[in-house]
Amino acid sequence: MHSTPGCNNPAMHAHAASSTTPTQPVLRIRGLCTEFPTPRGPLPAVQDLSLDVPAGECVGVVGESGSGKSVAFASVLGLVRAPGRVTGGQVWLDGIDLRTLDEAAMRRVRGKQIAMTLQDALTALNPSLTVGQQLVEVILAHDDDVSRLPWWQRQRRARTRALEMMALVGIPTPGTRLQDYPHQFSGGMRQRIMIAIALACKPRLLIADEPTTALDVTIQAQVLELIASLRQALGMSVVLITHDLGVVAERCDRVVVMYAGQVVESGTTAQVIGAPRHPYTRALLRATPRVEDLAQAVQPIAGTVPDMVDFPAQCHFMARCPQRQDACRTRIPLEFAPGTHQARCVLAPGEGT
């Protein structure tokens, strides 16, 4: 494997198996499965998801609506609501198995070690509290520096921290804006406040779920730039969930492509975007309008995402795949090997890069 320009962790080499990886990944997911019961039978929203988030790296998770990318990370944080449930797999955060933790321990992990920003900042923020109150709430709940103080100093210290965070994410006149309510901010500013709340306790890992989907390109660039600079300043890892391959190409070290609940391809950004191995990834790339190449016609992917209830054990993309063959009618396994370029396809080359 060549070291790619976007990859800032040269220690991750292809030959390093998971046990001998010099630095342990911050987040390690193996075989994660999540199901939702429906009247017609269980719907497997996430099937056999495995991925690594190495320290300090940005991993992009790409997929269309319904591919299970948001549910997967809700499962990681233990936020899947009943009747949905996680039916299998392990999630390690810095070597701690999150699935064995009880609710109280999990609550300490959320917000403090893993933070998540949600797509729609207006519905994710509480409309009846000022953004200052919402920031202070998180800091009081999770920040050790603050909870060590005697109780009469905590509120003031938390407010100072809130002010610092507002300034950090680039909100002008943070002192006066702390008293404003979420509806008084623009879309880009609201997303910044979500990031400020997520980063208030300096998490090890930020999961950004579609942070820029509802935003204009100019504001999108500002928010992504902000996440990148904070990632460097705080040394955290980032999972960027998005459906925009351009965002991934510009901002991520590694990419995981999801389709209908499964990982169909994973590798470094240069590998997946530059030399895609799965027919779905290739189709997705051809369907993306590109400003740099207007002569290139946009080619839609024929058909629609399959209904996963009672879906037979076969390639999920088969019905829409131009290269389908009889071999696709069996379960296509994907044995996760960290640091390699992999595709869940019978035509893809085997292990290694």
Binding site: E250, Q299, T304
Partner: protein
């Protein structure tokens, strides 16, 4: 078929300037060679509501300057893309052209006829010829009507057809956009987002319009569905000889479907020209910033990204002079005092820019 390109014959453009006066006498023989749509100095200001006491106290109304003196022309068979950040007035412009919101000033000439003088009944007749496709396929369809009822409503309103003809036209257009015959009596909630957008397209096209305003038709859709809808819009345009005003903040999608692009900022057009020139050789600093912010699949090394500072200024109190000077990386002192006019820059008269830096004024 390529998603976006119209047939070659549809792409010719007259070299008429966009300010050319046009006969406004209603009923005068429609000039076949004139532009299909001509917009002159269109203004739309929204007044914010004031309480009675404030009005009696003589407090001035605060006015949102949504569209501020926009002039443009659309040739028959052409697609004009309209891009800009949210809040720049691009959707309001599209709606003001169709008189879905009443313009505050200026006029719209459609096929040689000025829309501003028309009464409600005449306007209703014109509406069959100019339709709109909305952004949100969830909010723009009545959930209590079947798709047959939704799509036949324009034909019932615009009158003159027998029920059997209406049914036949509705079935034909729904089949064309990809519905099976047995789906015609289903309701919107039984369809996915992409299918709902197809229903919206069928509704817009069933009255056989000439002009279709596409108001962010692909912004709410996934990548693969977006490509399907773009391809369908391109095919339908060639088939029905349509003219599109394609409003979107998705610059890559506009680049693929439009023949020309107009860039809006705070209610004004700051740059307009052929698609390839706007995308590959943008002149206005705002267009440059907008384009440099579009994520690319293969980011070139050494690309300089212009990240704009701050948000769009409030359209209630727009900046004086050039409206972009507060965020412009190359603003000069004079930019804050005088507004530049939209003038041709190089040898191509179709490419025009409103910037003190790129055009020799006076």
């Amino acid at each position: 078929m390529s998603a976006a390109r119209p047939p070659e014959g549809a792409r010719h453009r007259s070299l008429q300037g966009e300010g050319t006066p046009v006969s406004t006498a209603p009923g005068a023989g429609a000039p076949v060679n004139g532009p299909l749509l001509q917009v002159e100095d269109l203004v739309k200001h929204f007044e914010r509501p004031r309480s009675l006491t404030r009005r009696l106290a003589g407090e001035k109304a605060s006015v949102v300057h949504a569209v501020n003196g926009v002039s443009l022309a659309l040739e028959r068979g052409e697609t004009l893309g309209l891009i800009g950040e949210s809040g720049c007035g691009k959707s309001t412009l599209g709606r003001a052209i169709l008189r879905l919101v009443e313009p505050s000033a200026g006029r719209v000439v459609f096929d040689g006829q000025c829309l501003q003088g028309l009464g409600a009944r005449q306007m209703a007749g014109m509406r069959a010829r100019m339709q709109i496709i909305f952004q949100d396929p969830y909010a723009s369809l009545n959930p209590r009507k079947s798709i047959r009822e939704i799509v036949s409503l324009p034909l019932q309103l615009h009158g003159g057809l027998k029920p059997a003809d209406i049914t036949q036209r509705v079935q034909a257009i729904l089949a064309r956009v990809g519905f099976r015959g047995d789906q015609i009596d289903l309701y919107p909630h039984q369809f996915s987002g992409g299918q709902r957008q197809r229903i919206g397209i069928a509704r817009a096209l069933v009255s056989r319009p000439e002009l279709v305003v596409c108001d962010e038709p692909v912004s709410a859709l996934d990548v693969s569905i977006k490509a399907q809808i773009l391809e369908l819009l391109g095919e339908l345009k060639a088939e029905f000889n349509l003219t599109y005003l394609f409003v979107s903040h998705d610059i890559a999608a506009v680049g693929h479907i439009a023949d020309r692009i107009a860039v809006m900022y705070l209610g004004e057009i700051v740059e307009i020209g052929p698609t390839s020139q706007i995308i590959h050789a943008p002149q206005h600093p705002y267009t440059r910033a907008l384009l440099s912010a579009v994520p690319r699949l293969f980011p070139e090394a050494g690309r300089t990204r212009v990240v704009l500072r701050g948000d769009l200024p409030s359209p209630v109190h727009p900046p004086r002079g050039c409206k972009f000077h507060t965020r412009c990386p190359v603003a000069m002192d004079s930019c804050s005092t005088q507004a530049p006019a939209l003038l041709a820059t190089g040898e191509d008269a179709r490419h025009r820019v409103a910037c003190w830096r790129s055009t020799p004024h006076d």
